[in-house]
């Protein structure tokens, strides 16, 4: 049951105990089958775990969708330096709130995933980088970590197996860019969270130059289930290339917002209109952002697709973190796009000129349009700026800012023109 609404079409792998306060405690979690996968794994070779996860086809849930088992297999088989697992709990993509829900209801599910992931890549230390704003749920996770140490499930010689895995909870301090894996590593080294140039990739030279893997909270939360039941079992849900279930975070103009755990490939239109109850105003849907503010916006007529990585990519957007933002027909897209671009302008780390300048100027132009002072030439300028922001920077923040601009101008040009014809519209969409 996902939270705070449920639907019979959900597959409750990760979210079965959302809304069940007892499941938070170690005792409650163990009564629900917790840490059996960890006990099982301690009798397995790390390579076997990587193999199971590969077989499952699990893909990274943080946005990029890279196959997790393959990512793990890039780590050296025979460590010559310490290995590190970094759990990315810096969830800050606008529209995304699944990791917070996973942590606040099932902290031990996340921790078991961290322990398994660390063991699989032969890391003795896993840092959980949680965003600074999540102070409240961080306290839940902190308590859970204390319980895990008290029970001997983490630390040195776990349950007498000779295996060492330490967990350290690390609080960020407010920077979207630290969710980017190399930005996160820099931040965890006590630096400004500026992304690094790749290569070298983290598996070669990551945290303090050591082999490192960074996985999203939701990705790791899947691992205990895969280890316990096997990779083949996981493939009973989803599609061939996007197996399993995914937490979709729904917000904006829907009657029942929240997290829903759906098998990948679930029909998108049915999801928004039936599972989430459609729009509160009863007005038709106008636009949907399928994967968080960084991905191209889809128009309502493009929704007859499955919710999986390939189908959404074929429609010209991305599944991203599964963050579905719905806008009804009464919305003019200019204010939301302006707000998203302002976000990127605020969060740009400033290393790369196309991003630092591009996001700031695009935000300025969009504010001007919203004030009713824009011209049609501004749209071409925005498209030119966006083109210069795409594929020319160290990380993809700049591309992310361009995505809503380009897609909204292409699909909802009329919304921009409305501001140019009727300056009095300014602010109406906010």
């Amino acid at each position: 049951m996902a939270y705070p609404y449920r639907h019979p079409d959900e597959v409750r792998l990760l979210s079965e105990y959302f809304g069940d306060p007892e499941a938070r405690t170690l005792e409650g979690w163990r009564r629900r089958g917790g840490y059996r996968a960890w006990e099982k794994a301690l009798g397995m070779d790390p390579a076997q775990i990587v193999e199971e996860v590969k077989k499952s086809g699990l893909r990274g849930r943080g946005g990029a969708g890279f196959p997790t088992g393959v990512k793990w297999s890039f780590m050296p088989q025979k460590p010559t330096k310490p290995h590190y697992l970094l759990c990315n709990a810096d969830e800050s993509e606008p529209g995304t709130f699944k990791d917070r829900e996973l942590i606040r209801w099932t902290p031990h599910q996340v921790l078991e995933g961290c322990l398994l992931g660390a063991y699989a890549i032969r890391a003795q230390h896993c840092y959980i980088y949680i965003r600074g704003e999540y102070m409240e749920v961080a306290q839940i996770l902190a308590r859970a970590i204390e319980e895990v140490y008290e029970a001997g499930l983490a630390g040195e010689n776990v349950l007498g197996s000779g295996v060492t895995v330490h967990l350290t909870l690390h609080l960020g301090a407010g920077a979207y860019i630290c969710g980017e894996e190399t930005g996160l590593m820099n931040s965890l080294e006590g630096r400004r969270g500026e992304p690094r140039v790749k290569p070298p990739y983290p598996a070669v030279a990551g945290y303090f130059g050591c082999p490192t893997t960074i996985n999203n909270v939701e990705t790791l939360a899947n691992v205990p289930h895969i280890v316990l039941h096997g990779g083949e079992w996981y493939r009973q849900w989803g599609t061939e290339k996007s197996p399993g279930t995914k937490l979709f975070c729904v917000s904006g103009h829907v009657r029942r917002p929240g997290n829903y755990e759906m098998p990948l490939g679930y029909p998108f239109r049915k999801f928004v209109e039936e599972v989430c109850g459609g729009t509160p105003s009863g007005a038709p849907i106008k636009a949907v952002i399928p994967g968080g503010s960084s991905v191209p916006i889809l128009a309502a007529e493009e929704l007859d697709i499955g919710m999986d990585y390939e189908s959404i990519a074929a429609a010209g957007s991305m599944l991203g973190a599964g963050s579905v933002i719905v806008m009804d027909a009464r919305t003019n897209l200019v204010p939301p796009v302006r707000r998203m671009v302002e976000f990127y302008a605020h969060e740009s780390c400033g290393q790369c000129t196309p991003c630092r300048e591009g996001t700031a100027w695009a935000a300025k132009i969009l504010r001007r349009i919203e004030r009713g002072e824009g011209t049609e030439d501004d749209l071409q300028t925005l498209l030119d700026v966006s083109e210069n922001m795409t594929g020319r920077t160290i990380c993809v923040l700049s591309d992310s800012a361009a995505a809503p601009i380009v897609s909204s101008i292409q699909k909802f040009r009329e919304d921009y023109l409305a501001y140019m014809r009727r300056p009095t519209l300014a602010g109406a969409g906010a």
Binding site: P4, R6, P21, R24, E133, Q139, L171, A175, G190, G282
Partner: protein, 216 residues
């Protein structure tokens, strides 16, 4: 627009509970389970994560004495080198003093063997470190897309009206500073508001007086 919003199932400020009508605010926030963390940080694994936006701060407080010294030492043990402990140590300083003055940053630099300029360079990168004093309650209203679509600017305006402040300014009595914040990650529970170290979710403009009254 409010006429079209569904009725609230379980009023409270831990978010709309939807079909989970039996849940209390405490159940959702997990405060009893999490407990209150001690100044020494508890287990070293979590010593760096004590909430650092607090109402009871003292700009003159010593940084690394008693339990705070213990916490510093626990934090240092968890990282490969001292520099890596910079964020948690800045959190500790922020928790005690309420903001990071140049003097505070210099003290942190000293204890970690870094230069004050380096620490300042890092501290200014992150938005959650206040570089100047703020009100006893720092009210951060999320106005990013999901909250915005559901009326966040009305909530922001209500906070400004009821506290009698301008955006980013501190009220005359020193109690409140109201700012806009980027996505708080509670998009399904709009509008999300963070006041010091706690979240208030599903906030509507009419809730603002009640929330402010609870802070007094």
């Amino acid at each position: 627009m409010s006429a079209e919003v569904p009725e609230r199932r379980n009023p409270g400020f831990a978010g709309e509970t939807g079909e989970f009508v039996h849940l209390t605010e405490e159940d959702i926030r997990g405060t009893a389970y999490a407990g209150v963390r001690s100044p020494d940080g508890g287990h070293p694994a979590v010593a760096g994560t004590v909430p650092f936006l607090r109402a009871d701060t003292d700009p003159q407080a010593p940084l690394f004495d008693g339990p705070y010294r213990e916490r510093l030492e626990k934090i240092l043990r968890r990282y490969p080198d001292k520099q890596a402990a910079l964020l948690p140590v800045l959190h500790l300083a922020h928790e005690r003093r309420g903001y990071l003055s140049p003097e505070t940053m210099a003290e942190v630099a000293d204890v970690l063997g870094l230069s004050p300029a380096y620490v300042r360079g890092v501290a200014t990168f992150y938005t959650m470190y206040n570089l100047r004093p703020v009100g006893r309650y720092l009210i951060q209203v999320c106005t990013n897309i999901s909250c915005m679509l559901c009326g966040a600017y009305d909530v922001l305006r209500a906070f400004l009206e009821h506290t009698g402040t301008e955006l980013g300014e501190t009220s005359a009595d020193g109690r409140f500073t109201v700012i806009e914040v980027e996505c708080l990650g509670a998009c399904g529970f709009p509008t999300a508001v963070q006041i010091n170290d706690r979240y208030w979710e599903s906030v509507r403009p009419e809730d603002v007086p009640t929330i402010l009254a609870s802070l007094r």
